[in-house]
């Protein structure tokens, strides 16, 4: 069962995680912490290992080395379904929507228990994502990109989730939808600890409290998000964000 996070407590601690995909050594020493009172953002360029990190935490990829501690317990050798049942929700990069199932069926698959408390959480979740109510009986495959993302997040928080891992929620979405997602994540962080992988710096800085920069499968920098916003050198070197527009001749 999920446990209520205490402020300032480290909920998730990843220590020197290494992960292989086939023969490729993708994570070569990722370390970070997610604290109970904060949204932790993993940022970095394409191929830095951000998504692989979340998949390793979730047990979908095995960590060949290092430790992953959730509420002080090692989880790196546990199967994904056991990790999920400990109260960790996961929203993958491709959203993982069951397109041939209805929105209702998608939510039903996600609900591990169907009791009074679960019904209340479902009602609260649908209140947050009103569009899902409108398309409740529709096939999830017909939803727009933003609605699919909302469904993916709704599925992840409908259980008693104390840690939520979200992989690039703003990818491919219109700015207005990104703003709605920012609002939703700000609401979710009142109940759950959030670890967010994000390339969209606007979104990352809007919801993030702490950041970790990943580069070539390693954690290379971390700190408070407010500090990163002011650090043009770091943003330019690791995120490719430049204040000065390039000369086009």
């Amino acid at each position: 069962m999920a446990e209520e996070p205490n402020l300032n407590e480290t909920i998730l601690k990843v220590e020197d995680a290494h992960t292989f995909i086939g023969h490729h050594h993708i994570l070569q020493g990722v370390s970070f912490e997610a604290k109970a009172d904060a949204v932790t953002v993993l940022i970095g360029r394409n191929g830095a290992g951000k998504s692989t990190t979340l998949r390793t935490v979730m047990g979908l990829l095995p960590a060949s080395q290092g430790k992953i501690l959730y509420n002080g317990k090692e989880i790196q050798h546990k199967r994904p379904y056991k990790i999920a049942r400990m109260g960790i929700g996961f929203v993958p990069e491709d959203m993982g929507i069951f397109a041939n199932l209805t929105v209702e069926e998608n939510m039903r698959v996600a609900m591990l228990v169907e009791d009074e408390a679960a019904s209340q959480r479902l009602a609260r979740t649908l209140e947050m994502f009103k569009d899902l109510k409108k398309f409740w009986k529709a096939q999830a495959g017909i939803l727009s990109g933003g609605q699919k993302q909302m469904l993916a997040i709704a599925r992840a928080i409908v259980n008693e989730t104390s840690l939520l891992l979200i992989d690039e929620p703003s990818k491919g979405l219109a700015p207005i939808i990104v703003d709605a997602l920012i609002e939703a994540i700000n609401q979710i962080k009142e109940h759950s600890v959030v670890v967010l992988v994000e390339q969209n710096f606007y979104m990352a800085s809007s919801v993030g409290d702490h950041y970790y920069i990943l580069d070539d499968g390693r954690t290379v920098h971390n700190g408070k998000m407010t500090d990163l916003e002011d650090n043009d050198e770091l943003k330019s070197r690791y995120l490719g964000i430049s204040k000065v527009a390039p000369n086009v001749s």
Binding site: M58, L60, R79, P80, Y81, A84, R85, F90, P92, G96, I97, F98, A99, N100, L101, E105, N106, R108, V109, A110, L112, G141, R155, N159
Partner: protein
Amino acid sequence: MSETAIKRWNKELTIVGAVILFMLPLLGIPVKTYLTLTIAGLAMGMLLFLIASGVSIIFGLMDVLNFAHGALFAWGAYVGFSVFGRLREWVDAESVLQNFGVFLVAILAAMAAVAVLGIILERVIVRRVYGNHLFQILITFGATIVLVELIRVFWGPNDEVMTVPQTFRGNWDIFDIIIAKYRVICIFIGIAVYTVIQLILKKTKIGTIVRAGVENLEMVQAMGHNIFLLFTGVFAVGAGLAALGGLSMSIFSLQVYPDMGSTYLLFAFIVVIIGGLGSVTGSLVGALIVGLSYNYVAYLVPWAAAGVNIIIMIIILLIRPTGLFAAGK
């Protein structure tokens, strides 16, 4: 024209095309014979559906190519054969109740025994080769040899004549249309099994999880569902369906023999390829296409009967490589 209208138009066009194809054999077959062949084709289709649906669900959900499915089919036939042998008096009795009673006992015994066999197979052998199709083919082919040899050990190497409960024997003659009684029973068995599977898949939580797993297994795990338990359950159900198919087919063909599974497994793979992997409705439609076309062509051009299904399969693969009703991955 809107996308919905195009889809509806396509659907209507498909139905009209299917009806025309279905009626086409009437050009060369007298109506009464056509109706007899249709009943025979539907019955054969329903029996193929029983074996193909298991293959389809197991591949769709677990991505496992189970070549041992044919051996499980043969085991179902032999367990039923033994039950009929033990309860011979009920088989030969004039009582409809006793005849259906022994049939039901044989079905339950065959499905239960083969489901247990399926669980052992999945836990001991198949689980070790998830994700590797080549190993799956080799290891399940090896399991087939073992299972077929075990049939020879327990029941002997010779072909046996399958006894048929009294009520299922003979034909009805309705306005000169000859309808074999057991074929009608086969059609009802197929409809009942399809309905039960659909109800489980559509109306129960476990069924919804299976459908979700066919689309995205990784996500189902990440949602807290123990997929290994799910795999074992689905494998057992698939094995049970193969057993039901084997028993029903042995009564249909009036014989049991150790290698009978390999003959029908080929048909099952054709059905699954036509219908689309992972779709139960696809298996039903594919099985009916195979059953009907086999019977019509066997009457019109007997030498071409075996090849017609291969031709249909090739045509469908060219037009729609994922099969008629492929479940989304």
